[in-house]
Amino acid sequence: MTKKLRYLPRYALLTVAAVVSIFPLYFMVVGATNTSQDVLSSRLLPGANLLNNIRDLFALQNVGAALWHSAVNAVTTTVLALVVCSIAGYGFEVFHSRAKDWVMNILLLAMMIPFAATMIPLFRMFASAGWVNSTIAVVLPAVSTPFLILLFRQSSRSFPHEVVEAARLDGLSELAIFGRIFVPMMRSTYAAAAVITFMAAWNNFLWPRVILIDNQAQTMPMLISNLVAGYVTNYGVLMLAVLIACLPTMVVFLVLQRSFANGITGAIK
């Protein structure tokens, strides 16, 4: 009994933290089913206005196109980033040399460059290539990141060198060793890298906002951001749009939470 009492303050604290963490999301979900007035009068129960909100939102905005753009951008970024960074991380570790260490240290410096400091030249570079409003311009800056290279280099440490040697003796090419042996063995690292890259790409706002000038090319975060730019905001519709924008990343998070945690902390272990 005394032990239970001793734990009481902790549970109270954790309950407060959990409620505070979940409440804005609950408010968003409930708000999506309520009228604008009900959202503002703080109705905390589900309402009957969901279908009206859906109709209004889709009449007002091209949600399908924004979802499509977000999906294409996020999936393309994830696939390319995984290919480019995993092969580089593998290269740094398995074909290790002092010169490569040196290159890796230089690449790590790029982690300290704020995006703000490269945004303007990047825009000019892509504009002169005629890539404004294009998927490639949104995707390219996020394909090769020191963080992901580091993550894959760290996990390559646990890749037994004997396997590489044996495969070489069997006559497998270096690319085949990577593709047929390394990739299947490192599935959990790939999952972690995919989750963090996908979520970051789906949620990215500043760079798409800079490079996607045409409203026709806008992504989901841009769409919801533009919803409040009008004179009168319909809060029910806004909450619904925010919910739709969050849904993919929330699902990914809830299903692959462990991979996400491993992804953000993996490179520093």
Binding site: F95, I113, P121, S144
Partner: protein
């Protein structure tokens, strides 16, 4: 990062007949070859050719990634510096006279000073509170006797699944004049009339800080949890048996052991806060009267709004870059000194 084996060849290696000593490349090694193990070098007859080929393959593997980082990170960084020395409208840019014109202008720009101040306020107030909260929560969750652990962790970590734009808009709705927060405070008779949270400088800044705390505390908690899992829980038990209360345990057992992780999260949070954009744009739109506008928000306006001034905006972007570098160096130095 710490498992790099010595790269020098073992002096006791017998010179192999097929490899002329002068042509050996002692710096190259195969990974996972323990020092002293000369098996890989001695057994093959064409060691040099193979090793050189492997080395080239290695370079081929990492060159796409390295080239992308060089072209899309380092080169733009250099170009931004060159741009920051230029002036002019639109595409007709020329070197400014004197060269540091944009920088002198920056130091006399009231709006730059205001956005710098805003960003530093967020940094100084929000980051310490967040890191302490994250540490406390991580300590609570690290207790093996705690029940429903995965529920608590998922709940507190959940805000990370939400994009910055999304939570900014939800917070904007919650803190609206006739929104939930005002309704609740009035319902509890704590206030008599609604506070215009987003229309007053002080409260608008508090809302941004609350938003940042909500979004990032769980994120940092996960880093501390990962670090705590690598520590021996018995050190905490021992402290308790020795009569140390939770506060003493926290300061004298947890913090010293977690120091590297605390420094890392502090640097990441500083880096992130200095680049704050989404919240400033969506939650308060920089208002009222630009008193919640972040540096990145101002940079965006300078570079891409109305009359873009690319040279001047680049000077501002360099101010952010230098701040990030200086603060990271200071944090690393402070961490060193406490040893």
């Amino acid at each position: 990062m710490s498992t790099i084996a010595p790269t020098k060849p073992n002096p006791t290696d017998p010179p192999t007949s097929s490899t002329p000593p002068g042509r050996r490349e002692p710096r190259r090694r195969s990974v996972a070859t323990p020092p002293g193990d000369s098996r890989h070098r001695t057994r093959r007859s064409t060691v040099l050719g193979l090793e050189r080929r492997h080395s080239l393959t290695g370079w081929a593997f990492l060159i796409p990634a390295a080239a992308l980082i060089a072209i899309l990170n380092f080169w733009p960084m250099i170009e931004a510096f060159i741009l920051s020395l230029e002036t002019g409208k639109g595409a007709r840019l020329h070197l400014s006279e004197p060269l540091w014109l944009n920088y002198t202008r920056l130091f006399n720009d009231d709006l730059f000073r205001l956005t710098l101040g805003n960003t530093l306020i967020y940094l100084v107030v929000q980051v310490p509170i967040m890191l302490v909260l994250a540490l406390i929560l991580a300590m609570l969750l690290n207790d093996p006797h705690l029940r429903f652990k995965s529920f608590w962790r998922t709940a507190i970590f959940l805000p990370c699944a939400v994009s910055l734009v999304s939570y900014s808009l939800v917070f904007r709705t919650l803190f609206a004049n006739d929104g939930f927060v005002n309704d609740t405070l009035m319902g509890l008779h704590l206030i008599n009339e609604p506070i215009q949270c987003l229309a007053n400088t002080g409260t608008a800044r508090v809302v941004i800080i609350l938003g940042l705390l909500w979004r990032w505390t769980g994120y940092n908690m996960v880093f501390y949890l990962a670090a705590l899992q690598n520590l021996d829980y018995s050190t905490f038990e021992a402290a308790r048996i020795d009569g140390a209360g939770p506060v003493k345990t926290f300061f004298h057992v947890a913090i010293p052991q977690l120091k590297p992780m605390i420094v890392l999260t502090a640097i990441m949070s500083t880096n992130g806060t200095l680049q704050l954009f989404d919240e400033s744009w969506n939650l308060t739109a920089g208002g009222p009267a630009n008193t919640t506008m972040s540096m990145s928000h101002y940079l965006y306006n300078l570079a891409f709004f109305n009359n873009p001034n690319v040279g001047y905006a680049s000077a501002l972007s360099y101010a952010i870059l230098i701040l990030v570098a200086i603060l990271a160096l200071i944090q690393m130095k402070v961490a060193d000194r406490r040893d």
